[in-house]
Structures are given as structure tokens and as C-alpha cells.
């Protein structure tokens, strides 16, 4: 036991000596969390829309005014032809065009139906769809105002009252916070542990450790403990940032959150140990743990892209990605304020993963080089 403590101390010296890496380890999550927390959002905003008004009458004016008040769309008035729209699209600033035909009002009054044309730049389908959604809502609303008799014509009136749960103010980046947390912890923990072991291999000091009377398994444990502690400090920092800078309150039990995070960090550390087993150079270890893991983590955690839309095979893959489960846990505990009874399944999965990975890593650990 005393030996182990000595070795853990040695590892801490290693960590603290390399101040630049330490700075990266703590600076990176802070900058990323703040950056993404403020900048990433599922909302589509500030879309430039050209409105070509050929009608130029009271109704079309009213409609355009109404669209212009939308905070999501930036309206530019110009009488443009199709060719000009294409030109604008090719420049890439304008994402959509609304064309109100010349006989808009008379059609509306006499035929009772008036078409307006919406042309969207489909190269970004998300924006194209959102433009149509926004315009549909605005125009439907406009119609109702325009013909206030509609509600009296339909005597049966159902009025929905919508409540947005967990996110009353409509914070569009709420979804991303737990995801970014999972991403950062996963990558940082895995990469640092795997590298610290491979480094000893590369420098030849691993041999020295292995011939010492110290049990080989303890070498691994001594490597992992400092990173576990540092990661927990890192996690605390992330939590403080979310509460005080991003202004997102932690709804659930903070102890539970710490417990789950410790579990997740242990899973990542085990993964790092496993990677260090199969590699011999720092470069390869880093390539696997950073480059190799970044994309799967981004894709399969489920915070950027909806998992339920993916092909079945991908959904199966996502089950073996630890960050997916951690993301679900953090979302439930931190944002929804749920207790352990709601996350025990995810916790169990993480537990199985960490014990599984740890056993494989320890079994595969070569005592002879």
C-alpha cells in the first residue's frame, strides 16, 4: 500500500512537471465549453430572405411587415427575377426568397386563394426547411389576423396551451452542454492515460518499473489514479462554469452527478489503459485516442445528430460508446433533476463497460516487453 502511494506520488510529479500539458488539460475544456455553450444552438437564426413584392398593395405590405418583425429572418426587399435569385444564392449570403405575385390581393379577395412562392437554397436542407416552417407559421398567423371572422365561423375552437418542460426560456444550447461535457472528459481521460504509459515504454523506463519488486498491476493503477483525481477536478471546473458562466442550474442531486462522472471517468481511463496495451509509440496512441475517438464520440453520443434517425447498425454501434450512456445520465440528472431510479440502467451499462475494459486491460498487460 505504501509502495503504491509512493508510485502515485511519482506520477503526480510527472504530471505537474509538464506544465504545458497541464495547462492544456484544464484550459481546453474551459474554452471549449464556454465557446460551444454560447455559440452552438439548435435554433436557426439570422437567415437572410429576399422578398420580391410584385403586388405592392396594402395586404402584401402588411404581410412583409409581419415577416420583418420575426427575429429569425432578416428581410431584404428587392424586386428580383429568378436569375437574380440564383445569382444571390451562388454568392451564398441569401438563403431564401419569397415572391408575392402581382395579383396577390385581388386573388385573395375574389378567388379566396392566393399563392406565394418560396424558393429556398437547398444546399443546406436544415435552413431550407426552417425557412418554410417560419414562413408557414407567420403566414397562417397573418391569415387569422387578416380574416378575424375565422374563429367565429368555426364555433368549435380548441386552444392548445404549450409548456416547454425543463427549458422554459428556450435555451437552444441546453442540449449541447451534457454532450460537450461527455466529449471533453472522454477524450482527455483516454488520451492522457494511454500516453503516460506508452511514454514509459518509449523511453525505456517501463523496463525499470517492471523489474522492480513492485507488482506490475500496481504500475497501471498508479498511472490511473492521478488522472482520475485531475479529471474530477476538471469536472468540478466544468460544473462551476455551467452554473456561473453559462447560467444553467443543476436540477438534480450533485452527489449522484459526481458518482456517475467518477464511473464514466473510470471507464475512459480503462479504455486508455487498453489502448496503451496495444500500442508502442506515443504517436499511435494519440492518433487512436484523439483522432480515432473524436468522430465516433461526436457522432454516436447523440447530442449533435439524432440517434433514432441513424441506420440500425449505427444504433447498435452507439450502444458500445460510453459517452452515449453518460450523456443520457447527465441529461437526466443535471437538466431534468431525476434520481438514481431513472438512470440505474445506464449506470449499470457503464459499470459493466468499465469492469470489462479494466479486466481486459489488466489481463493483456504484458509483464515482459
Amino acid at each position: 500500500m505504501k509502495q503504491l502511494l509512493v508510485f502515485i506520488r511519482k506520477e503526480f510529479y510527472h504530471v505537474f512537471r509538464d506544465q504545458r500539458t497541464l495547462l492544456i488539460m484544464f484550459g481546453l475544456p474551459i474554452v471549449q465549453l464556454v465557446l460551444f455553450g454560447f455559440a452552438l444552438s439548435s435554433e436557426v437564426k439570422n437567415i437572410r430572405l429576399v422578398v420580391a413584392d410584385y403586388a405592392k398593395d396594402v395586404n402584401s405590405e402588411k404581410l412583409i411587415d409581419k415577416i420583418a418583425t420575426s427575429t429569425y429572418l432578416i428581410v431584404e426587399r428587392a424586386t428580383v427575377t429568378q436569375e437574380q435569385i440564383e445569382k444571390e444564392f451562388k454568392k451564398g449570403e441569401v438563403k431564401g426568397a419569397l415572391i408575392i405575385p402581382a395579383n396577390f390581393s385581388s386573388d385573395l379577395m375574389h378567388i379566396g386563394k392566393a399563392p406565394v412562392q418560396v424558393i429556398t437554397d437547398g444546399s443546406d436542407p436544415n435552413i431550407a426547411k426552417t425557412i418554410v416552417n417560419y414562413l408557414t407559421t407567420i403566414i397562417t398567423d397573418f391569415q387569422e389576423q387578416f380574416a378575424p371572422t375565422a374563429s367565429t365561423l368555426y364555433p368549435l375552437h380548441i386552444q392548445p396551451e404549450i409548456r416547454m418542460l425543463y427549458n422554459e426560456e428556450g435555451n437552444g444550447s441546453l442540449n449541447f452542454i451534457p454532450g460537450v461535457m461527455a466529449l471533453i472528459l472522454m477524450i482527455v481521460c483516454t488520451a492522457l492515460t494511454s500516453v503516460s504509459i506508452v511514454k514509459e515504454k518509449e523511453m525505456g523506463t517501463m523496463e525499470v518499473l517492471l523489474v522492480s519488486p513492485f507488482k506490475p498491476v500496481f504500475v497501471l493503477i498508479a498511472k490511473a489514479v492521478p488522472y482520475l483525481i485531475l479529471s474530477l477536478v476538471n469536472f468540478t471546473l466544468i460544473l462551476l462554469l455551467t452554473v456561473f458562466v453559462l447560467d444553467i442550474q443543476i436540477q438534480g442531486n450533485i452527489l449522484l452527478l459526481y458518482f456517475e462522472s467518477t464511473l464514466f471517468i473510470i471507464t475512459c481511463l480503462s479504455l486508455g489503459l487498453l489502448i496503451s496495451n496495444v500500442t508502442n509509440s506515443q504517436q499511435t496512441a494519440l492518433l487512436i485516442s484523439l483522432m480515432g475517438m473524436m468522430l465516433p464520440t461526436l457522432i454516436f453520443t447523440g447530442f449533435l445528430m439524432p440517434l433514432e434517425n441513424m441506420p440500425k447498425a449505427f444504433q447498435l454501434i452507439s450502444y458500445v460508446i460510453p459517452s452515449r450512456w453518460y450523456y443520457l445520465i447527465v441529461k437526466s440528472v443535471m437538466l431534468k433533476g431525476l434520481g438514481f431510479s431513472f438512470v440505474w440502467k445506464e449506470t449499470l451499462v457503464l459499470m459493466c463497460m468499465s469492469t470489462g475494459l479494466l479486466t481486459i486491460a489488466l489481463k493483456n498487460f504484458k509483464v515482459r516487453l
Partner: protein
């Protein structure tokens, strides 16, 4: 010139010697080009709904049938009360709850008005908004269809002002498939990862093993050394870009609608800029771990803030300025424009000068910061 040739020979030999990294460099494009477009589908296809029916009348049944027949929703549960329904949301089984109050039918007929409760899980804002939007449409439809006394076409309404019909067309991508948006961006990702990561690691490795000292004491000039490092990766990068374009064509049928020459011109300049960036990282770090972490740090920012996943226009003002200060943002934009919209040089010349600026600035900075005397 001869010196440069020797350095290039050395660099190529070093790159080809490490088979695993070489394999990774060429496998990555294929894997990414196949996986990412398959994974990225942001459509909200069906929303899971949990319904609390407190009325159990013929109207409420009709409404439930209407919701399930609408195709937008999948009814996961008919709950007895709010507490049971909220469990569905907490367990992530449902994204939205509809509460039909008691005496729904009676009130609707007697008073002509009835309120309904909709509760949406708003952590995922998009889904909540779309889900409640769909539900609104279904409800509006329901209330008009229910009333048998109302004739199908309102003479009065037609006179007072009728319906505005939205006719929508989506150019360049009529079906609004996401792959057209993603695939070109993955090409950019490839160049960025290869250019940024590989060069960042390469020089630091020489620092770490100590071989950089040996080069420093030779009469090799600074620029020769740096060019020797950049050119091999530049060639590999262009090769991978070409492979990527071929994969785009053969797997997805996506090919540049615009000028291929223009696309390559941009790729050439962009690659130089991003190589300079990798170089800059390597001059600022002492060992591979630091270089990797720095590279990873910037890659994550590049990927998440360049408009790859979420549109730059939707970001707050300061973030847009930040995004525009990255070469990736410009290249992502241009690649999409040239491949999908056939934009000409005139449309993108501003971006071109931006990229040249980045290339000059980043490489200049890197060369300035690289010192032969340590």
C-alpha cells in the same frame, strides 16, 4: 534546390516507413465519407407522444385516432394521469405529452371552446418545437373537421379574405436530402485532419527524438527544412482530396457542378494554410502530447464552429466573427457552393483572398517562430 530534394527524399521515406499511420491516412477518408453522411439526418420524422385522456368521450377518441393517423406521431402510451405521462418523458420514451381535460367534449359543444395541455421535453429545442407545431396542425384540422354544421367552403370567408398558399421549391437539392450538405463538408474535414494533425506531429517528433538538433547544425536553411516538411503532406493531402472526390461521385453520385479547376485551386491554397497551421502548433509545443492536444483542441473548434454541423449564421455576433477568423469556415462554405451551386470565381473571390491571407499569415508566423537555435 538539390538540398530540398534530399530533404524531400528523407521525409517521404519516413512517412512510408510507418505503415500503420499511412494506412490510417488513406483509410480515414473512406470511412468518414461513408459513415458521416449516413449518420447525419436531422429530420424529425416521428415524434413519440404520450396522451392523457381524461375525457374518454367520442370526441377525445376521434382526436386520438386523428393524431395516430396523422403520421407525425407515434403514440407510446395512453396514460391515466399526468404523473404517469411525465414518467414517459423522464424515461425518454416520449418527447411530448397531450393532456385532454375532463369534459372535453361537453365543454367543446356547450361553450365552443376548450383548452388543451401540451407539454414538450424542451431540452432538445428542435424536436419540441416541431412536435408541438405538428400537434397544432392536427388540432386545427380536427376542430374544423369536427363541426358538421360548417359547410366545407365558406362563402363568407372566401370573400373576406382567403387562404394564402405557399408554393415551395428548393433549389440545388429538391428533396432536401442531408447528404448533399454533409458530403462536401466531409471533404474539408479530411484535408483539415490530414493537414493539421500530421504536420503538427511530424516536426515535434523530430524535436522529441532530438534529430532536429542534427538538422539544425547542418547548413540546411529554415525555408528548406519547412518546405521539406510541407510538400510531402501537401501531396498526400491533394491525393486524399482526389480520392475523396471520387468516393463522392461513385458512392453518392455527388460531383462538382461548378468548375473542378476552381475547386482544386481552393483546395491547394487551403491545404497550404492548414499545413501552416499544423506547423505553427508544432513550433509552439515541446512534445507530441502537447502538439496533439493543441491540434485536437483546434480541430474540435474547427469542426463544431465552422458551419459543418450548425450554421454559422445562427450563431451570436461574436461567435460569427470568431468563426470567420478560421480558414475552415471559408473553405466549407466555398466547397459547398462550388460543388452544389456551381458558383463561379466571381462569387467566391472574397473567400479566395481570405484563404490566401490565411496561408501567408499562418506559414509566415510558423517560419518566424521556428528557430534553428534552440
Amino acid at each position: 534546390m538539390k538540398v530540398l530534394r534530399f530533404i524531400l527524399g528523407k521525409e517521404f521515406r519516413q512517412i512510408f516507413r510507418n505503415k500503420s499511420i499511412l494506412a490510417m491516412m488513406f483509410m480515414m477518408p473512406l470511412v468518414q465519407l461513408v459513415i458521416l453522411p449516413l449518420a447525419m439526418d436531422f429530420d424529425v420524422k416521428s415524434v413519440n407522444i404520450s396522451i392523457i385522456d381524461n375525457d374518454h368521450s367520442s370526441y377525445s377518441l376521434k382526436l386520438i385516432n386523428k393524431i395516430s393517423a396523422s403520421g407525425y406521431f407515434k403514440i407510446v402510451n395512453l396514460s391515466a394521469n399526468y404523473r404517469e405521462a411525465i414518467l414517459d418523458i423522464e424515461r425518454e420514451k416520449a418527447a411530448i405529452i397531450l393532456e385532454i381535460p375532463p369534459h372535453f367534449e361537453r365543454n367543446l359543444i356547450r361553450e365552443g371552446q376548450q383548452r388543451l395541455g401540451i407539454y414538450a421535453d424542451a431540452i432538445n429545442g428542435t424536436k419540441a418545437n416541431i412536435g408541438s407545431g405538428y400537434l397544432n396542425i392536427v388540432l386545427a384540422d380536427f376542430s374544423t373537421a369536427l363541426d358538421l354544421n360548417v359547410p366545407p367552403i365558406h362563402a363568407a370567408q372566401a370573400i373576406q379574405g382567403g387562404q394564402i398558399e405557399i408554393r415551395q421549391r428548393s433549389w440545388y437539392n429538391p428533396l432536401e436530402a442531408y447528404k448533399f450538405n454533409i458530403v462536401p463538408a466531409v471533404l474539408v474535414l479530411l484535408l483539415t485532419l490530414i493537414g493539421g494533425f500530421m504536420t503538427a506531429l511530424n516536426i515535434v517528433r523530430e524535436k522529441e527524438i532530438g534529430t532536429i538538433e542534427q538538422i539544425n547544425v547542418t547548413p540546411i536553411k529554415k525555408w528548406q527544412f519547412i518546405l521539406g516538411k510541407l510538400i510531402p503532406f501537401w501531396i498526400i493531402g491533394m491525393l486524399i482530396f482526389t480520392i475523396g472526390l471520387l468516393v463522392c461521385f461513385f458512392v453518392y453520385g455527388i460531383y462538382p457542378n461548378g468548375s473542378l479547376l476552381l475547386l482544386y485551386m481552393f483546395a491547394i491554397v487551403y491545404l497550404i494554410a492548414i499545413l501552416g497551421f499544423g506547423l505553427l502548433i508544432s513550433t509552439y509545443s515541446d512534445n507530441q502530447v502537447q502538439a496533439m492536444f493543441l491540434a485536437f483542441f483546434f480541430m474540435a473548434i474547427f469542426m463544431l464552429m465552422s458551419g459543418f454541423f450548425t450554421a454559422v449564421d445562427s450563431m451570436p455576433q461574436w461567435a460569427r466573427i470568431f468563426a470567420n477568423a478560421m480558414p475552415v469556415t471559408h473553405f466549407v462554405k466555398v466547397v459547398r457552393m462550388i460543388i452544389l451551386k456551381a458558383s463561379t470565381f466571381d462569387d467566391v473571390k472574397l473567400e479566395f483572398f481570405y484563404l490566401i491571407g490565411f496561408a501567408v499569415a499562418l506559414n509566415g508566423w510558423a517560419i518566424w517562430n521556428y528557430k534553428k537555435t534552440s
